[in-house]
Amino acid sequence: MIENRLRCNDALLQAMLCEELPTDASNDVLDHVESCQHCQQRVTELAASAADWKRMADAMSDLPEQHSDLSPSFSGLGQRPIHWTEAMARQLLSAPTHPEMLGRLGRYEIERLIGSGGMGVVFKAHDSELNRPVAIKLLAPYLASSGPARRRFSREARAAAAVVHQHVVPIHNVETERDAPFIVMQFVSGESLQDRIDRQGPLELCEILRIGMQVADGLSAAHQQGLVHRDIKPSNILLEEEVDRALISDFGLARAADDATLTRPGFHPGTPQYMSPEQAAGLSVDARSDLFSLGSTLYTMCTGRPPFRAENSLSVMRRIVDSEPVPVRDISPQIPAWLCTIVGKLMSKEKSERPQSAAELRDLLAACLSHVQQPAISPLPVVPWNSIDPFPKKIFLISKGSIDVISLISVFATFGLFLMLNPQDEQSGSKSTIVEEHEHNTVGLTWKSLLGKEPPSGYPADLPLLIQGLNNSRGEWLFAGKMLSDGNEVECEAKMQINGGFLNRVQQGKFPQWQISVAWPREKPTNTLVLNVMVLPEPETIKLMLIPQLAVEGNPVPSEHKMYGGSWDAEKSTVTWTPQSFRLPGTDNSSETASDDASKETNGAFRLVVKSDGELHLVGYQQGSFIHFSGQSVARVGEQYVEEQPALEKLPNGYKVFFAGRTEVYVVTSNGDVVIGPRVETIGCSDNMIYGKIIEYVPGHSDTPGYFWFDSTSGETSKGLELTKWRDDLKAKGIEEPRLVGPEEVGEQY
């Protein structure tokens, strides 16, 4: 003891805390600390004051209901699931009658803890009356004291008990009268799908199809009773031992689809990784939400990892809403393309794009399973939706120029050319066979892959700085080449404009956003197309979107288009392209305005409004928040543009765009340059100028109402000005005064 005292030394403890001691010295310190209470206390104090320890404990003690389940990979922003321990659980139970048992609940002898989650704990128990093993789910005590949680728990029990199906875990008994309410379920001997995946990684194709089919079957039964599970994920799917049977468990959050009162908006009871976009966005959910989650589950079975991962739940949810997962076959190349198509379809952001019922999915997976098991007898089934292969079998591009960026152009141009030349894929509503193997469908976005060689000197080597490189490449590039599509060789030529969108920001090297347009001359093969690529690097993702400009004056408007959204995976240095098909409503007639029906038509992630006067087409892109129309301008709106339909008014030199609510509107010139804020009453734009009258606050311009101008060449903007000053300014710039259209002429919208 005396010897120990002598060795109490704060400096050593501190060094140990900072992990600065060599191993043998650390072992001495450990030996000492283990036997010296004083030093045990000192270690704690050196780390932080008692007050800080307490503040930390306080901060963690009153977390709201959490996303929690058994999967350890998830962590929230400071939201760590409470870990149940047997000791805690034991407090809830009365003393066991048998020493080997953990405790007792009524007639049930509790054997062991088998799981815990946000709502409570699950035990394996023995029903002493009926002499059978059961699983008991006990509501956590902090929830048992909360009225809404109790009600949810008992409703859960009622809902789940009503579903009797071979692929749903049966409920034997419900006890809600006690202090700690509980549910008694059949004990399923085996493991959860999560355990299986953790243990053996990706599953075999037949297993994936069989489990998927069985879960779809179980879901179908629940859905028919109006129940949405809301929490389909691998840890809620149990795999029975020695029998090929999957059971859906834990209708823990299931509720009648119309019962929207109890769960509060903004609170997401499901594990975020498997949430549907509508759940993540806090919108109402229906049975199709479960299909998305099942899609994510299938993805996980195929790849061994969940599709959306991020460091905290908010980021996970944002990814679910905003980005596409890494393609299944990048991780597991052995998975056939048709299964990827099915998974992709299930994981459509827009629920109307998904298979519309679990039964439909079950039948499809069943047919696929027979095909895999007996390919000679069972053909690959026909899918009831239009499958899309975004990539032609062969396209080759021959560059004429020796321009460094030419390959970059070709990467993008490939998509555009394909868009033009494969109209046969665009038979909306028709049935088609699942697309078989196709070319590897990712494009690596590295300098190497873009240029076919290392970057030219002066270009930043790091990919995130690619933006800068492109910025350096601003200007017009010519692209010429041949491409082969379905045997037809076509000469083509394209002009690509790298505008460095949001010019003034890019110049500062601060604002990582740029835009590329690729335009094909009108006289070339079919319709002229303009591709806009918007790249928005976020801390971990870069979004790329290719948007074919819909129509050009004088050309017939094709009724079907595809849009490619891609997401950049920094980890794997690949871009994943996801095709979305959409149809322009109203393109078959020439009515002055789009009908209501047409304007509400949605497809994929898009909302379309078309004023089919032959020129003006507006495309909304839900996640990327684009609206886009032919002619002069591109408008970009805040991301909440989802539900509202924007209204457009054509002005002599531009467009005025209205959105309900507080959505901000940006009008961008054809140069891809900025932007006007909300409530600008009159707008005009020429090649280099945007001008108008500010009624209210305009970001980057002024808080002062008045007339303003924005010179996109120099990036200069004016404040809100008196009309005379504004005229003087324009005159000084040698610009003819544009005609401003007043509210009386365009009509008041809001």
Binding site: A47, M56, A59, S61, P64, T85, R318, F511, Q640
Partner: protein
């Protein structure tokens, strides 16, 4: 967090020219959104109302950005954000509490009882903010340390498991538990201090 925040973010980013400011905003929104929400819920607001308050606070902040950008003496973005958001939150909470009372007479008493003076809202916000900074720091640390190091901290500090049990559970000697838990706490504290120093 949700679309409206994202929309605010997009419009902000277009105005903020400094990439560090954008990062500060993101971090701030992640921390302060839940703060406002929880204070609102804690004061008896309906979840939907609480969500709205959060939106409005962020919107108010966003709308004030330009005036901040134009100031010569603008100082640190985060300090400004915190001040303006706090003021906005106090305003919204006070206003809404009054409005809720007028709208729903049957709950008048409950609302009255749960209503607080602006000063009480602001101290509730500050307290919640402090907690959230700790949680934020804890989340950061958790990502950066080995799982068993974190577990040593979590089990012993948050779940009240004894050092001996934790050592047994994590299959290590107790000495390691003492140090592991303190390392975690020490880093959390450092992060919190750093965060507070930066603002």
């Amino acid at each position: 967090m949700n679309k409206d925040h994202t929309a605010t973010r997009v419009s902000l980013i277009l105005r903020l020219k400094n990439v560090d400011d954008v990062a500060a905003w993101d971090e701030f929104a992640a921390i302060y959104g839940p703060v406002v929400y929880r204070v609102a819920i804690g004061r008896g607001f309906q979840p939907a109302d609480a969500e709205n308050i959060v939106q409005e606070v962020f919107l108010a902040v966003a709308n004030s950005i330009s005036s901040w950008l134009e100031r010569d003496d603008r100082g640190r973005f985060r300090a400004w954000l915190l001040r303006i958001a706090r003021n906005a939150a106090v305003d919204m909470l006070t206003q809404r509490a009054t409005r809720a009372l007028g709208r729903d007479g049957s709950d008048a008493e409950a609302v009255l009882a749960s209503m607080l003076a602006p000063s009480e809202f602001s101290s509730a916000l500050d307290l919640e903010y402090e907690r959230m900074v700790f949680r934020w720091a804890a989340a950061q640390v958790r990502e950066s340390v080995e799982a068993h190091t974190w577990d040593a901290f979590w089990l012993t500090s948050m779940e009240g498991v004894t050092i001996e049990v934790a050592a047994e559970r994590l299959k290590t000697r107790t000495g390691n538990i003492y140090f592991a838990r303190s390392r975690v706490m020490s880093r959390i504290k450092q992060l919190v201090e750093q965060y507070e120093a930066e603002r």
